[in-house]
Amino acid sequence: MSTIDDDAILKKKLAAWQVDPRIPTGFQREVWQRIAVEETARQASFKFQFIDWVAGLLLTPRYATAIIIAGAFLGIGVAQVGAMNTNSRSMKNLETRYIGTVDPYQHIASR
């Protein structure tokens, strides 16, 4: 019985409950102030200063061109090493093929 009474009281209280959502005065201003403070702190930190510095450099046409050319040269360098390895393996393979045409024992072994 007491549970039914409790439910009735609760329902009554819930029905009477009214929410008055009032945003404190200057809420928006405070939020933007906090954002501004965070922004200032971010800009002040070494990491972001460094990023900004690098970004500033990269956005200079001279440096942007230089880094793209450097990228191209890096690609060529890596490709040269890779091509040398591939060619070396292929030439060894061709050498073995040639030996197989001259040496009967090697010819039998390679079949």
Binding site: W32, G75, Q80, G82, N87, Y105, Q106, A109, R111
Partner: protein, 171 residues
């Protein structure tokens, strides 16, 4: 609203990242182009049926005349090499059979061993003759390098009996 915007500060790193991506793209394109052209010649040699002769030409700096003579020598040697392969496999197959059939040394096993040695000697003689003939067509430094490379295939033992026995006869 207070006009504070983070877009200005975010814009520079974003643009810088684009520059960085452009550099990566340049690296990738340069890699692909260079790799393709640098390996194209050797890949073509690999794909050709007589690519090993192209290899010989490149490796030992053969002129057209030298290459023509060596190709002719090679064509003349090829049937001899085929006959040698046949003799090797027959001698090895005979020795293999005799080893399986006998539990100790018999005159037949000894004869088969001798036959293998004779075949090997004949092979090496024919092969060395061909190597000398090919080397004679080359320039002296290339000839020396060629002989140096080929002599290991004469001197070093490298083929077990089973490898030759298990193969079908040479066509």
């Amino acid at each position: 609203m207070i006009p504070i915007s983070t877009s200005h500060h975010a814009e520079a790193p974003r643009k810088a990242a684009l520059v960085f991506l452009a550099a990566l793209a340049a690296a990738a394109v340069a890699f692909c182009l260079y790799y393709h052209f640098a390996t194209h010649h050797v890949k073509m040699m690999m794909s050709r049926p007589a690519g090993e002769m192209d290899w010989l030409r490149t490796e030992f700096h053969l002129t057209d005349d030298q290459f023509a003579k060596i190709t002719a020598l090679h064509k003349a040697y090829k049937p001899k090499c085929g006959v040698m392969c046949q003799r090797i496999m027959e001698a090895n197959a005979n020795l293999d059979r005799l080893i399986n059939d006998n539990k100790n040394m018999t005159p037949a096993v000894e004869a088969a061993l001798k036959q293998c040695a004779i075949v090997q000697e004949d092979c090496h003689r024919a092969m060395l003759g061909h190597i000398y003939a090919v080397g004679a067509e080359m320039n002296p430094p290339d000839r020396d390098r060629y002989l140096q490379m080929m002599k290991q295939w004469i001197i070093e033992p490298r083929l077990g009996m089973n490898a030759a026995v298990s193969k079908p006869p040479h066509d």
